[in-house]
């Protein structure tokens, strides 16, 4: 097949490389000059070039989050054009409702700069950082329990931070006055602006070298090129519809499990992700404001991972996202109404990874791993700063766990594909910076889902506080209730736990952390989830089981129970006992399921079946979203009551329960635009 486009097959590769260099160069400037912890410690930032149509043309390959493909910048561009776009202008926004799916929570501060040639915009240089604080109800701005976006900090609608190179001091003062860490935020914004200026210079050099027409058509053609590659790989996926769902536990604010359900349809290289039966928006901050954009970055993440896995060196830009249609009804947790809280949407994003992976796993069983830990929580500690009289906040560690077991390979210990770009923090650096001792930072034994290829082990962190008052926040903790699932006979991985003062009389299992206060000497131990296993554990080589026992990540008891491998006290395999045990396990009807979700989810779904949840969501569809949330809560309470009294055994009379609720809340005023009952 020969390339048919303005840019020839050589210039295309030359320009793709040149654009890549610009993105990488910007990213290195932002990372190294960054001030806030998320930029420095977790690489939560991005730096890209964007086409005049709002598509990402190139994104850094080795720094920053792997989450820039599919960021829709078209709405933000339209807003900036309305304000007037000139050379030397720099725009800024973090607004979730003003940028059409670009910013999806307020800590993500985006800045962009038009790059001109001959009086016309050629492209935009664009960057974002996840700021550690943009004001709001808690330090860090994100609390799972927030209900309104107004609790989550300052909203900056699209605005000019620089006009023709001159700083808008008033806007800056407004921003600085509304966050807890004005200097750090301004430091990060300066770092981004220096990246944008560098990109402008590099694009100018590129135009000088190859001419404006070549550069303009090159931008269009590298996007088309990525799209063609993506379509070709998607076309190898068998056509069909693949259904999968998974849960956000949602209970850190006292709520219920939130179900994300996808129907993924693949047809000749096009993919449609339909979330019609996903739960309504929530009162807590798990809402992900995607605006149901085609190819939205948080929805295509798993598919981009798939493309990069099956085709090394694939062009890396928003062209990869073009074949992916996203259909999310308004009012659901993945496309909420304006005004709801969205801060904790990264938890949702991570579960979305699991959901799409689950669908993809059915389509491509030989490629897609079992579920990873599914948690990418950032564990923050705040202590008094005696020097300044204020307080001091630092990341202790990212809390992530093992990846899922893979076809032909074990999962990776301690880190998972959903957040594979995270780095941890040296224990010595934490202790030098904060009054704590990290007494243990190890792999967590018996956390891996058993399998022919086992899941990756979770982590175990034990921290002692040496300060009079300390506060811990840890957003996006999840998988404390439902396990990471196993695949094709592989078992689900272990759930997470949090224990206060282990091994003392005051020992307490405290579950997920929203905001936790600790006193001097308190010890907190956290175990993160392990990845699900892949394939029948009885087929795992006994030697591999023994190696896990010797490495200390598998107990002898679990080796016998899950794998049927009998390991002796001096750490050898008892071959005869193993053979006998494996035979007995097989004879006892040892299960080999497509997916193993673990007993907790199975028990939960005995009441909250797919049929019931789907029927409930459909029954509520016609109500306005905020009413829906209320009605849903009430109906669920009634269903719980029925179940507790044993009346739900023969099935739930949903219509009857809904009528009861509607008559009880009948005094809620209805508007003409929002039809009341069906």
């Amino acid at each position: 097949m020969s390339a048919s486009r303005a840019t020839g097959p050589v210039m295309l590769e030359v320009l793709r490389n040149r654009f890549q260099a610009i993105a990488d160069e910007m990213a290195s400037l932002v990372l190294r000059a960054g001030h806030t912890v998320f930029v420095k410690e977790t690489s939560d930032f991005g730096a890209v070039l964007v086409s005049v149509d709002g598509e990402v043309v190139c994104a850094p390959m080795n720094t920053g989050v792997a989450l820039m493909v599919g960021v829709p910048c078209d709405v933000a561009i339209r807003r900036s054009l309305a304000l007037g776009v000139g050379p030397g202008d720099v725009f800024i926004s973090n607004d979730v409702w003003d940028t059409g799916g670009m910013a999806t929570h307020l800590p993500d501060i985006y800045v962009w700069r038009p790059i001109f040639h001959g009086g016309r915009v050629v492209c935009y240089a664009w960057a974002f950082v996840h700021s550690s604080d943009v004001g709001g109800i808690v330090p860090g701005s994100i609390a799972p329990s927030s209900a309104e976006i107004y609790q989550e900090g300052l909203r900056i609608p699209v605005a000019k931070l620089f006009r023709r190179g001159v700083l808008n001091e008033e806007l800056l003062a407004l921003i600085r006055a509304n966050c807890r860490i004005p200097d750090q935020n301004w430091g990060d914004i300066k770092a981004m602006i220096s990246g944008l200026a560098r990109a402008e210079r590099r694009v100018g050099e590129l135009i000088a070298r190859y001419g404006i027409e070549t550069v303009r058509s090159g931008i269009a053609d590298v996007l088309d090129y990525a799209e063609r590659q993506a379509r070709e790989e998607f076309a190898r996926i068998p056509d069909g519809t693949y259904v999968f769902w998974d849960y956000l536990e949602g209970d850190s604010g006292g709520g219920r499990a939130i179900r994300l359900k996808v129907r993924m349809t693949v047809e000749q290289g096009s993919v449609t992700l339909d979330f019609a039966d996903t739960d309504p928006q929530t009162r807590q901050s798990y809402n992900l404001p995607s605006h149901s954009r085609r190819g939205h970055w948080q929805f295509v993440f798993s598919l981009v991972g798939f493309l990069r896995s099956v085709r090394g060196g694939i062009a890396y830009n928003s062209g990869l996202a073009r074949p992916v249609a996203v259909e999310v009804p308004r009012g659901t947790v993945l496309n909420p109404e304006p005004g709801v809280a969205v801060g904790n949407r990264s938890a949702t994003q991570i579960r979305l990874v699991d959901v799409i992976m689950g669908a993809l796993a059915q389509a491509c069983p030989g490629i897609v791993p079992a579920a990873g830990a599914g948690q990418g929580s950032i564990f923050l500690l705040r202590v008094p700063d005696f020097e300044t009289g204020q307080s001091k906040v630092s990341v202790i560690q990212p809390l992530c766990g093992g990846s899922g077991g893979r076809p032909m390979k074990d999962g990776i210990d301690g880190i998972d594909f959903a957040i594979g770009f995270l780095r941890n923090i040296p224990v010595e650096a934490i202790e030098a910076d904060m009054p704590v001792r990290i007494r243990r930072y190890r792999l967590r034994a018996d956390s891996s889902g058993a399998g022919r290829y086992r899941g990756g082990a979770g982590l175990e962190i034990e921290m002692q506080v040496l300060a009079p008052e300390a506060t811990v926040t840890s957003r996006a903790m999840d998988r404390y209730r439902f396990r990471p699932w196993g695949r094709l006979g592989g078992r689900a991985g272990a759930r997470g736990y949090t224990v206060l003062n282990p091994g003392t009389p005051g020992e307490r299992d405290i579950g997920k952390i929203d905001v936790l206060h600790l006193g001097y000497g308190d010890v907190l131990r956290i175990g993160t989830p392990g990845g699900g296993g892949y394939g029948d554990p009885l087929e795992r080589a006994a030697a591999a089981v023994l190696a896990d026992v010797r490495r200390g990540i598998l107990s002898r008891a679990r080796a016998a129970r899950d794998y049927g491998v009998v390991v002796t006290g001096d750490l050898h395999v008892d071959a005869a006992a193993t053979e006998a045990r494996r035979t007995a396990l097989r004879a006892a009807g040892h299960p080999v399921a497509d997916f193993d979700f673990g007993p907790e989810r199975e028990a939960y779904e005995r009441l909250w079946s797919d049929a019931l949840v789907t029927a409930l969501n459909r029954a509520l569809e016609s109500h306005p979203p905020r009413m829906r949330t209320l009605l849903r809560e009430r109906v669920c309470e009634l269903i719980d009551g029925e179940a507790a009294s044993g009346r739900a055994a023969g099935g739930v009379d949903l219509a009857g329960l809904l009528d009861r609720v509607l008559s009880a809340v009948g005094h809620v005023p209805q508007t003409a635009a929002a039809p009341g009952t069906r």
Binding site: P9, V10, L29, K40, S309, R439, R550
Partner: protein, 681 residues
């Protein structure tokens, strides 16, 4: 004592290179012999015998013997060194498994985390604890250390590494453990993290310690054998080894600290390039070493730039080494066309077996070298001094097959390959140069390696720089670097101070302490040096940042810290394009590099020619940017100082071919370098 000889030897993967300098005449003799991987010392003695016989010299007349070897890095990459046991602070036993978490390819479902160099079964926790300032919070029990080590040795460990938390702040626990281990396990190689590199960051420090232990025994035996063999041949001078930091050390020290030799080969090439450029009057250069599998660049701004982010195989190397960026774009890199019809080059290399198609060793895929041949840039009869026969028809055939798929003829395809290879280099090198604060236009390129001088002007054009320097011995610059390197060692101390709260005397005192330590090292090396100096630097950042910039500092801290801050602002501004003079700045750690200046060879200006080079012979038809052109062909050995020529031209020599494109001109300088420059209109 009259003038003698200096010998530099670089043991590479395929060849061992020798450069012998006659101090009296300034003559340089170059030799290549095949490397003997199983017993690398025997290629050295073999080469020395050949040289001594060829030039009729007595090995005793060799005053200086410096060599570099890839033995440590190969041992590490093959993981063929000693089985290591690791002792860590309890609770941290999975330190090598957890790493820094981030996946090598975060989105690739098939990616693999690096396999730890020490299996988890060979790691033991020790119940001791220090705080971040070095205070003892839980004392060490040496009996427990001995008991754990006994288990590890019984399990087959031949070397022991010790890495305790916060050992950079207080080395006493590690030292006590080492004393006990040395006493009870005499044949076992023992090293501690504090003595290897006392910097904060436990994973990276543990890795350095483990690597040192892993390669230690083999390196110690190797240096021992080499020294014995050289003495047997009558060499009386000290035996020295090159280091990753571009310096040299005695073989005895190298046997204790072999981790410092990991990047000594490429670093030594940079030192050679630096020397050549400085002699020629170019203080700021980008070195460009292009060989069969990769193209490597580094930066010299008056002196080489150092990195603490180098990578050896799977592992980050925290110790300062010369900052080299490597891209998989060499002469052997394979060109291909993807399913969308886009032309790609590399990263796969045809290596030397089967090698480029034109080698006629069975390679069917076109490589960068095949492109050079088809473009008429290389002389098939003279490739590698005539040592590698080239069949241009095989190159053309391979290119034609590729070109058919994109509708281009052989020459167009070949030209496209050079363009894509250059774009690959540009894409990786530009962010690298930027993060080092380099504005490429202000630099010259020093081109070496087999393909460096062939490709340098293409790269220069993309980077927008105007001058390329091709040394006299571009194929043996690593060995040349051995001849001119100084004794160098690095010392680090964690300092942690904000400049607005720091007394200048405290900083001076800390530097003096570190210099005292460095001085002890230099004396222990026991070599006569012409002079010595201490180069101070500090890792500095704005308070709140977590990446530091390495800031070279003056020799003395004066009355105020203003010069220290100014130095920081200068470096910071170069890299990031802005500075903030109000924000607080902090010093994370202090560095001292001690330099024992070795006597340098005298410059011997060459006898000038008459300005018009001998030859050229029959012009050659070659392809350049869409057209066949006639290029003059010159022989490098026939060129004389002050000779001038204009592109398009080809300069041939045994170890490389220099392309001087149209629009460039070249002259030969008094040190016999070829300087290629953009011709001003």
């Amino acid at each position: 004592m009259g003038p003698g000889f200096r010998l530099g030897v670089d043991i590479g993967g395929t060849f061992t290179d020798f450069v012998l300098l006659d101090e009296g005449s300034g003559d340089v003799e170059v030799l290549k012999v095949p490397t003997t991987p199983r017993a690398p010392a025997s290629a050295v003695t073999e080469g020395l015998r050949i040289l001594a016989a060829r030039l009729a010299i007595d090995p005793a007349a060799i005053r200086s013997f410096v060599h570099g070897t890839t033995l440590a890095v190969n041992t590490l990459i093959e993981r063929s060194g000693s089985a290591v046991g690791l002792l860590v602070t309890s609770g941290m036993e999975d330190i090598l498994e957890i790493r820094r978490l981030r996946l090598p390819e975060p989105q690739n479902f098939f990616t693999d985390a690096p396999v730890p160099l020490v299996p988890r079964e060979a790691v033991r926790g020790i119940d001791e604890r220090l705080g971040p300032t070095g205070a003892v919070e839980r004392p060490l029990d040496a009996d427990q250390v001995e008991a754990r080590a006994a288990e590890l040795c019984a399990g087959g460990c031949r070397a022991l590494a010790v890495c305790f938390l916060h050992a950079y702040a207080n080395a006493e626990h590690e030292a006590a453990a080492k004393r006990r281990l040395a006493e009870r396990f005499p044949g076992v190689f023992v090293c501690t993290s504090g003595e290897v590199w006392p910097q904060r960051r436990e994973y990276e420090r543990a890795l350095l310690t483990v690597i040192n232990a892993h390669v230690g025994e083999r390196m110690r035996e190797y240096f021992h054998a080499l020294e014995r063999d050289l003495r047997g041949l009558g060499v009386a001078s000290a035996v020295l080894s090159t280091k990753s930091n571009g310096g040299i050390m005695t073989a005895r020290t190298a046997g204790e600290r072999p981790v410092e030799t990991l990047f000594s080969g490429p670093s030594s090439g940079v030192i050679g390039a630096h020397w050549v450029a400085a002699q020629a009057g170019y203080p700021n250069v980008i070195t460009f070493d292009m060989g069969g599998t990769s193209a490597d660049v580094s930066v010299i701004t008056d002196r080489p730039v150092y990195s603490t982010e180098a990578q050896a195989g799977d592992f980050p190397i925290l110790m300062p080494s010369i900052d080299i960026k490597s891209v998989g774009a060499g002469g052997g890199s394979v060109a291909w066309v993807d399913r969308e019809g886009v032309v790609k080059v590399g990263p796969r290399s045809a290596g030397s077996e089967p090698g480029p198609a034109c080698y006629a060793r069975g390679g069917a895929e076109p490589t960068v070298t095949d492109a050079y041949v088809a473009l008429g840039w290389l002389n098939p009869q003279r490739f590698a001094g005539g040592g590698v026969p080239i069949d241009p028809e095989l190159a053309r055939g391979a290119l034609a097959r590729l070109g058919d798929r994109v509708g281009m003829d052989v020459e167009e395809t070949a030209w496209a390959i050079t363009e894509v290879a250059t774009a690959n280099m540009y894409a990786r090198f530009t962010p690298f140069l930027t993060s080092r604060g380099v504005n490429a236009e202000e630099y010259a390129i020093v081109a070496y390696g087999g393909a460096g001088p062939t490709h340098a002007c293409l790269l220069a054009r993309e980077l927008g720089l105007a001058r390329v320097l091709v040394p006299r011995v571009p194929g043996a610059l690593c060995a040349l670097g051995c001849l001119v390197a100084d004794l160098r060692a690095d010392f680090v101390r964690v300092f942690d101070a904000r400049c607005d709260r720091l007394a200048p005397e405290a900083l001076e005192r800390a530097f003096l302490d570190l210099e005292a330590e460095a001085g002890v090292w230099l004396r222990r090396e026991g070599l006569a040096v012409a002079a010595h100096r201490f180069e101070r630097s500090a890792e500095m950042r704005y308070t709140g940042q977590s990446f530091e910039v390495t800031t070279p500092l003056p020799d003395r801290v004066g009355e105020t810290l203003a010069p220290v801050l100014e130095a920081f602002y200068r470096v910071y501004g170069d890299v990031y394009g802005y500075v903030d003079r109000d924000a607080p700045v902090e010093i994370v750690d202090l560095r001292v590099q001690v330099v024992g200046v070795t006597p340098k060879p005298r410059a011997h200006p060459a006898v000038p020619g008459r300005g018009r080079p001998a030859g050229p012979g029959t012009p050659r038809r070659l392809y350049w940017d869409g057209a066949m052109i006639d290029a003059a062909v010159y022989q490098r050995p026939a060129l004389r100082a002050r000779d001038r020529l204009s592109g398009p031209a080809v300069i041939e020599q045994d170890d490389t071919t220099t392309i001087v494109p149209a629009g460039f001109r070249a002259h030969v300088d008094p040190q016999m370098n070829v300087i290629v420059e953009v011709q001003r209109q």
